[in-house]
Symmetry: D2
Subunit: 106 residues, 4 copies
């Protein structure tokens, strides 16, 4: 039943109703879950990119929601950009390297 | 292991590398899977909103990717906006009704 | 300097740090700006779809941020899905109608 | 009329109907426009983060669409995550540094 296709998912998690505009404690707790998951990931300023099997990645993001709710946040909204491709295997790093290399050639 | 928290997920699926800019055959096939899933959903012009348990919804979106790949598309990118809340139960329709009612009161 | 290409933009605006998880007062104020703008729009449960010239639409979304900041919100995050196409003119409603018609033919 | 509030916008641009699933030539051309703009930016595997005044950033993204259309792409879809805050000035790099520092303290 689990979906096993490989994916690259970029997630931006936003806690809603948090008294103050600073949300880094919650983002840090979610990021800690990602790093403990064993999945390859890259933190950037607009989210974190996670690579792995579809169901593994999506369950991890679900557990991030559960964790941040346990910290007392009543509402959470995430934006997920997720890509799959069947023509070749490509990592998140490959994608950046390709564009940087082409920029040098322009 | 499956994440059971209720969520409202809005998904916009984009097939990449499809020869022509018209992608409605693929969107229709994905939408058909949603309607057969038994989950509550609402189609709109920028995506489809799906309501249900986290893992059920995310596995459904994964199967939508698998289905569109089977149709010959080599690369697919989806954007998912997903919300969870623990303070109250609210449907997608409730959210629209609240804003429409408040607009009348302004 | 303004970008005049026609676009269809779907925006989901989220106020951050609002004490309570209910954000419908802010969403309603933003929605009111959209309806006063004269641009064609469709409210749904995961956002609002706005149609018009690129700079007009993006400036409107910027004014929505300004308005919600004026109401006392210190931080706002929006997710915008925006599409442009040069092969044909298509409205948001056309897109839904096409998928619904194809679903009937399946 | 232009919206001058400072924003951090993360954009993922997707050309639709491009014959092949490889879109890096188009992404590279768009990235080149960003680097020539003089705005601060950071390329990552799921998009590029751009910092500046709202209308400057959004007009730049519109010109990226125009540029990729000029290269022959008939349809383009972008996903933009954009944040504004009035309580303090914060760069994209500040956001990552805060989370990395807090992770070390956990």
């Amino acid at each position: 039943m689990a979906v096993k296709i490989h994916c690259i998912a970029d997630v931006c998690l936003l806690p809603i109703g948090t008294q103050t505009p600073s949300v880094s404690d919650y983002v840090t707790a979610a990021e800690k879950l990602i790093r403990e998951s064993g999945l390859k990931s890259t933190l950037h300023s607009a989210g974190t990119t996670i690579e792995g099997e579809w169901s593994e990645v999506m369950d991890l993001i679900g557990r991030m929601h559960e964790k941040v709710h346990e910290m007392g946040v009543l509402r959470i909204q995430s934006d997920i950009r997720v890509g799959t491709r069947t023509d070749k295997s490509q990592t998140a790093k490959d994608k950046v390297d390709t564009v940087e290399r082409k920029l040098k050639g322009l």
